[in-house]
């Protein structure tokens, strides 16, 4: 794997769902790479395919109705879409782990949190019961839960939202994974708790030399934590670049529109929010050509009929737009 230094590289991923109403192309051309120790931010609006991409990497797509119809996912040089389920089970939770948006529904309500964390340790590291319990308490301490040995005996409902998310993080990191996938980790939390959790992920990342894929709809979070950004629209990556470049000089009309439509703390009173016209398209009836063309201010005849590929722009940036160099 040392060849290209990428811990994870996703190439042309397509995950479709075959429903009664038709084929939902939830992910339809997602490409990105994550190097060791790097943080990639994946931004997009609801239904754009962010979460389905993450679940595809974990191979947790319910099949049927879902199916990964195309693409390759290289983790440490090996295409994990081609390995057996048994081999995948060893990677999942040990090498790649995931935290979810809603900590309440992703923890089991009838087991204590210590029990749930030590289960993963027993399975992946082969420690006995007592050692894995001690390790679980140690993990809880590391994620900043006070009085960890007592809190380990509590059930999820006895904890606040922020505490539960810490438990999720402790569980995800208990087996020293190399890649952490965080799917909207702070969306259900208050801003001050969100700051605590983001701060914690950053600290642990340095300590454990983690690579992180953070999925969010919040551009502010991406600006604060990510090294690189993939902007996703209608199942496709439409722009991929370093975080600084995305914010200082966005190339895709959707990225530009998104940045102009977010109210910012440092706005002047006179500043007006600009909007992207129209609605996010329904995944059953994606428009022809470029998926963004009905809402785009640069739309031309070509955009309506022919879908742009991911074009290489300057500095190794990628953009899916026919007219990006006219902006």
């Amino acid at each position: 794997m040392m060849r290209d230094q990428n811990l994870l590289s996703v190439k042309n991923l397509r995950t479709y769902f075959y429903t009664e109403d038709g084929v939902v192309k939830a992910v339809d051309g997602v490409d990105f790479e994550i190097k060791k120790g790097e943080t990639l931010g994946m931004v997009g609006e609801s239904g754009c395919g962010k979460s389905v991409s993450a679940l595809s990497i974990m191979r947790l797509i319910p099949m049927p109705p879902g199916r990964i119809v195309e693409g390759e996912i290289y983790f440490k040089g090996e295409d994990i879409l081609k390995i057996s389920e048994v081999a995948m089970r060893k990677i999942r939770g040990r090498d790649i782990s995931m935290i979810f948006q809603e900590p309440m529904t992703s923890l089991n309500p009838v087991y204590t949190v210590g029990n749930q964390i030590s289960e993963a340790i027993t399975i992946h590291q082969g420690l006995n019961r007592k050692d894995s319990w001690d390790k679980a308490i140690e993990m809880l301490r590391q994620v900043g839960i006070p009085d960890a040995s007592k809190r380990a005996k509590e059930y999820p409902h006895q904890m606040s939202g922020g505490m539960r998310q810490r438990v999720m993080i402790a569980m995800a990191l208990s087996c020293n994974p190399e890649l952490l996938i965080a799917d909207e980790p702070t969306t259900s939390l208050d801003v001050t708790t969100q700051a605590q959790i983001l701060d914690l992920i950053g600290k642990l990342q340095e300590e454990f030399k983690l690579s992180v894929l953070i999925i969010t709809h919040n551009l502010g979070i991406v600006a604060e934590v990510a090294d690189k950004v993939a902007v996703v629209y209608a199942g496709k990556v439409v722009e991929y670049a370093k975080t600084d470049e995305i914010f200082s000089h966005p190339l895709h009309p959707y990225t530009i529109g998104l940045l102009r439509s977010v109210p910012r703390l440092d706005m002047k009173k006179k500043d007006k929010l600009q909007t992207i016209e129209g609605e996010v398209p329904d995944s059953l009836t994606f428009p022809s050509g470029c998926k963004f063309h009905p809402r785009c201010f640069l739309c031309q005849e070509k955009c309506r009929t022919k879908e742009p590929p991911l074009i290489k722009a300057e500095n190794g940036r990628l953009v899916r737009c026919w007219r990006y160099n006219e902006i």
């Binding site: 208050d190 502010g220 439509s261 009173k269 929010l273 909007t275």
Partner: protein, 325 residues
């Protein structure tokens, strides 16, 4: 109402929810959701009410409209105390006070058409005679909020989140109210749709000279729409100022932490983040003295003993903190 006066004035508003226990449902304690807050809003102005979940923002909004009965305090709307009104008087008053809810899915009846949802209040107040007139008015309202007239025959499930929120806004405007409580109206919407709805609310305010109480947990959104901002923590207002004062010179440590925790979508802006310790305490047994003192980075002994008053520090900037002189 006097010229340049206040349209609405809230004085020492309190709402305690009883906790009942045991066979006889004896009241064992109270949740102090709103614990003595006062503010006023001028005609045509927007007051932004910010705070984290459970701080009492929504309860405040509902108490003002008397959708729930406040435990104590006065709400004076156009020189009348809303709390003293009889049922008939309240019915009349509600023409002027409306609310837009957070959840565009839960707040529209799925079995009613848009025409009936938006036109219901018109029939209740006998403002229209017959179906024809009702449809005409509903059509106008839909156009005002940027929807097509033809949509009135559809049901809520046929619309997207942003469109549903527009229907909710049309319903609130049907009676030409003067005052609208907007309870997290854009929190459930996608980023690109949020901006559309916020701009719509701003336009409507100018067009109809509306007065808003804008409740939100998102400081960036509040900054964009509000003239004045009140920051709430555990049922109390800790800071109140015009929008500029809150954002350029926040005085309360909680406001400072809240501002620094709100991410700015720009990598060129670098700020020191203040990370608060611990969680928001329970409103059943709020901490003694200043309610923020267990998490406050500057807490002094006096902070745990006496509760700070909300005092004027000049230019209409109010703050409740012992450390601000």
């Amino acid at each position: 109402m006097k010229k340049n006066g206040y349209l609405i004035k809230v004085e020492n508003l309190k709402k305690y929810f009883p906790i009942r226990k045991g066979v006889f449902s004896r009241v064992s304690n109270y949740v102090r959701a709103v614990d003595g807050i006062s503010f006023s809003i001028k005609k045509g102005e927007t007051l932004g009410l910010v705070g984290e979940s459970g701080c009492g923002k929504t309860t405040t909004g509902k108490c003002i409209l008397r959708l729930i009965e406040p435990t104590e305090g006065k709400v004076i709307f156009k020189d009348k105390n809303v709390g003293d009104l009889s049922n008939e008087e309240l019915h009349e008053m509600r023409r002027n006070m409306q609310i837009i809810f957070q959840d565009p899915y839960g707040s529209l009846n799925p079995r009613m058409t848009v025409r009936d949802i938006v036109g219901r209040s018109l029939s209740v107040y006998n403002l229209v005679q017959g179906e024809k007139q009702k449809e005409k008015r509903v059509g106008e309202l839909l156009e005002v909020v940027g929807l097509k007239k033809e949509y009135m025959r559809r049901y809520p499930h046929e619309f997207s989140g942003g469109q549903r929120q527009r229907i909710g806004i049309a319903r609130a405007l049907a009676l030409n109210p003067e005052f609208v409580v907007c309870d997290e109206p854009v929190s459930a919407l996608d980023v690109s749709i949020q901006a559309q709805v916020i701009n719509l609310l701003k336009e409507l305010q100018e067009k109809f000279n509306l007065t808003y109480l804008f409740i939100s947990h998102d400081l960036s959104v509040v900054r964009y729409i509000s003239d004045k901002v009140a920051v709430m923590y555990l049922g109390k207002i800790v800071e109140l100022a015009n929008w500029d004062g809150i954002y350029s010179s926040p005085l309360h440590p909680y406001t400072q932490a809240l501002l620094s925790a709100t991410p700015i979508p720009d990598t060129r802006v670098r700020r020191e983040r203040i990370i608060l310790q611990g969680d928001v305490p329970s409103p059943i047994n709020p901490p003694s003295g200043c309610r923020f003192h267990p998490r406050c980075p500057y807490a002094k002994p006096e902070c745990s003993q006496s509760e700070p008053e909300l005092k004027d520090v000049g230019r209409g900037h109010y703050v409740a903190c012992h450390l601000v002189k």
